[in-house]
Amino acid sequence: MGTIEGEGKERILKELESIVGSEYVSSSREITFLYHWDFVTAEEPGRCDFVVMPSSTEEVQEIVRLANREKIPVIPWVSGMNFGGICIPRKGGIVVDLRRMNKVLEVNEDDMYAVVEGGITWGDLKGYLEKHHPNLRAGITWSPAGTGVIPSYICYGMLDLGFIGGTGAEFINGLEVVLPTGEIVRVGSCMCTNYWLGRAPLPDLVGLFIGWDGTTGVVTKAGIKLWPNLPRKDFIIIADTVDTGVKIFRKLAKAGLGIVDMCFLNYVWLCSLQGYQEDENIPFEPEKTGGNDFYGLITITAYTEKEMEAKSEAIMKIVEEEGGLVADIETVINMFSENERENLLTLTNPPIHFYGVWNFSRGGGGEWVGSYISSRHVAQYYEIAISIAKKYGKHACMYGRVMFGGHHWIARVNINFNKNDLEDVERARKCLMEIDENVRKLGSVIRYKAPPWAKKRNLEKANPTALELIRKIKRLLDPNGIMNPGHEI
């Protein structure tokens, strides 16, 4: 498979136009080139032949049928924002931009779930819930409002309710998917009822589309869990090192305090959040300059004031016992100027309102080594990452979350770079590869939303029978290999 030229291209363009209307399909360079790279990472750009914007499942189905008949790659696309380049078209073909499918179709307040279309973004979802169902909330990643909801969920995104609900994948009750061969399938409880309330008790086929990075079908609808929007309180926790911080978080996780979110940053990312641009002035080892290197943010919810007070007291006691410092965020926020306060408070209520979290002020580039990990290895992971990053003259921005009651953690190291400086891009790429190579030796590290080179490394020591099963499933679902080629597991 490759890019399409000549008469064949004209014919396919006309067919796509007949499916979605001529205003929603393009093969012109000035339109398609914006889908060739994700604009953030250090991954090489790709190339597509067409961009098409369907408005319904049936239109997606017709597009996929056409692609399967012609053996043309299909790349599902919502916002193109991720740190692994997983929607970069690697072998040409049709980018199916789902942004017109951005509606909330149903909210069931009793069973607390919503059914949404595949192209919905955080801004769309949250805007809808705030207006129509303010007593409910969704789990949201720490990302801008334009980020796609379904890609975040099916790629194991870490949500701000991750401590009670797990990864985005666990928030999915069911899916409607257009398979690579053009059939429409519903998986989860919606396969045999109109209620999208969960994945039990039948075989859990949702897994056929989770963690596959868009290589097994195009998700057109999803049932997602919602949660009560209870009064909340946020705390900042400070520890001198990541090691100490991990110990504090581990103890908090086991205390049963109704915590809904536990995340942490290192000093460098804290500086990014505050918009510091002069990174040469940020110390590589903050603890050696009298600073601290672990900044936690935890959120609790409670039904009554008394309950909130009791939980707050327990949190403060535990943190102090373990040698950390703690303050509620309302108090901390008063230290900042008025316009900064508004920005920083969005961290407790994503989607975020500003891009400092990705540190775009330094030239717009950023890529991560983002990993699922045992809490036993988080501190070592960080030590490895900062020492390698320092060798390349880079600061390692650490960000992590404690997931699902503390059963597993996510640790992520971002390396920033200037997109306008090719040497800097190359340096960042080498730095990321070296970090990845070394942190994998810790044992529990598995990368998620990984670019193709890291995906291969992920599976080097995988169980061969499991790998063969993955290949068989892929062949069964996508016999012509059209779905997001180049990004296969």
């Binding site: 205003e23 929603y24 000035e30 339109i31 080139f33 914006l34 889908y35 604009f39 953030v40 961009v51 914007m53 916002s79 193109g80 924002m81 931009d97 942004r99 017109r100 973004t121 955080w122 801004g123 769309d124 949250k126 805007g127 705030e130 990302s143 801008p144 409002a145 334009g146 980020t147 900042i236 400070i238 500086c271 918009g275 510091y276 641009q277 002069e278 002035n281 600073g291 601290n292 007291e313 403060m316 006691k317 943190v319 102090e320 410092l325 703690v326 303050a327 509620d328 108090t331 901390v332 230290m335 309102h353 891009y355 400092g356 990705w358 775009f360 002020s361 717009g364 200037n418 306008n420």
Partner: protein
């Protein structure tokens, strides 16, 4: 609660100290974020180059958080839908002009 309160005061003191230490010239001396840049009109293209490269195509410009609600706000993007009509698409086109 008394222990917690002491801890909170310590935490506040530490944060204050760290800001004092790094802001006024010893460590981080300058805070520049895109919204603090002075965007003069009718300058040479070179003047705007850095501003364009701040963009990470994050999509923030497509939405606004106003009066407690998130809403879509980009007129050209909402009209034509393709990425090229949102600011995140217009900026790369502008970047191209610097490379010519």
């Amino acid at each position: 609660m008394r222990e917690g309160f002491t801890c909170q005061v310590k935490c506040m003191n530490f944060l204050k100290k760290s800001l004092e230490k790094y802001l006024p010239g010893k460590g981080i001396t300058k805070r520049i974020t895109p919204d603090q840049l002075e965007l003069k009109k009718f300058e040479d293209l070179e003047h705007y180059k850095d501003v364009l490269y701040f963009c990470g195509k994050c999509g923030q410009c497509r939405y606004v958080f106003q009066e407690a609600y998130w809403s879509r706000v980009c007129p050209s993007g909402e009209l034509k839908k393709f990425e090229a009509y949102y600011l995140g698409g217009k900026k790369p086109s502008a970047m191209g002009s610097f490379k010519r």
